[in-house]
């Protein structure tokens, strides 16, 4: 496990949190989308993470390090939470009773998720920068 592997793990975290941010932005943009290709309103997208081996060269060193893993996006799932019903008879997609089915996106929840993703991204940037500083410190040995 070298410092360079630490940086690779940090990079995998950055990519994963970026993907989470993309899901949040998609959910927020479609908070009032009532029509989709599959029919019905937009469904909230959720990102599922799994750990992954970042070194991936199968060497003895990487076998020693298999306890330390990076992260990657396993899949993007559509939430099956119930849709929101709002009374708005003038809306083109209102049903016979005047109710419109809006997406199952909760704006507050998405904002919270966005902040969490931002903070996690910052944490990973700090990991990469700290690893870099440690490496540069080793160059100062014997100066």
């Amino acid at each position: 496990m070298g410092i360079l592997d630490v940086m690779k793990i940090g990079a995998s975290g950055l990519t994963a949190e970026r993907a989470r941010m993309e899901a949040v932005s998609s959910n927020l943009a479609n908070v009032h989308t009532t029509r989709t290709d599959e029919g019905g309103p937009y469904r909230k997208k959720d990102i599922v993470f799994i750990p992954t081996d970042v070194s991936g060269d199968g060497s003895f060193g990487s076998m020693l390090n298999e306890k330390f893993e990076g992260v990657k996006v396993d899949e993007v799932v559509e939430s099956d939470k119930p849709f929101q019903q709002t009374y708005d008879p003038s809306h083109p997609d209102a049903d016979a009773n005047g109710y419109v089915t809006y997406p199952n996106v909760n704006v507050m929840e998405e904002m919270g998720d966005m902040i969490a993703a931002t903070r996690a991204y910052e944490a990973n940037v700090n990991v990469v920068n700290s690893a870099k500083d440690m490496f540069l410190k080793t160059l100062d040995i014997g100066k």
């Binding site: 990079a11 950055l14 990519t15 970026r18 990469v128 540069l136």
Partner: protein, 111 residues
């Protein structure tokens, strides 16, 4: 291979890799662009010191977010690789400096 020519070659390959990474980052929004990379260890073991012989590989499979426009570049990964490359370059430059200061020490008869 003596230390200096080995380090020279390593610096050449690192400098070339920097160009590859820079072009990946420049093309992060180019639709259909395939991420380019080189195998550093294989290049070091290849005989000769000509950067024109460096084999550039393309990553065909997108791993997620940029998949819509068939762009296979991951910006974060490229930035971290660029930092890593930069760090290693600095380390090699410092090693060359040490080598020369040892030569100087000998030339000055240990004074």
């Amino acid at each position: 291979m003596d230390t200096l020519s080995l380090l020279e070659k390593a610096l050449n390959v690192r400098a070339y890799y920097h160009k590859v990474l820079a072009s990946n980052i420049a093309n992060v929004e180019t639709p259909g662009y395939a991420e380019k990379t080189i195998d550093y260890n294989a290049e070091i073991e290849r005989p000769g010191n000509d950067v024109r012989n460096i084999e550039v590989k393309e990553k065909e499979e997108p791993d997620g977010s940029n998949a819509l426009d068939h762009n296979t570049v991951s910006m974060e990964e490229q930035m971290v690789k660029l930092t890593e490359n930069n760090m290693m370059f600095d380390a090699f430059v410092q090693l060359i400096g040490k080598k020369f200061s040892m030569l100087k020490y000998v030339i000055n008869e240990g004074r």
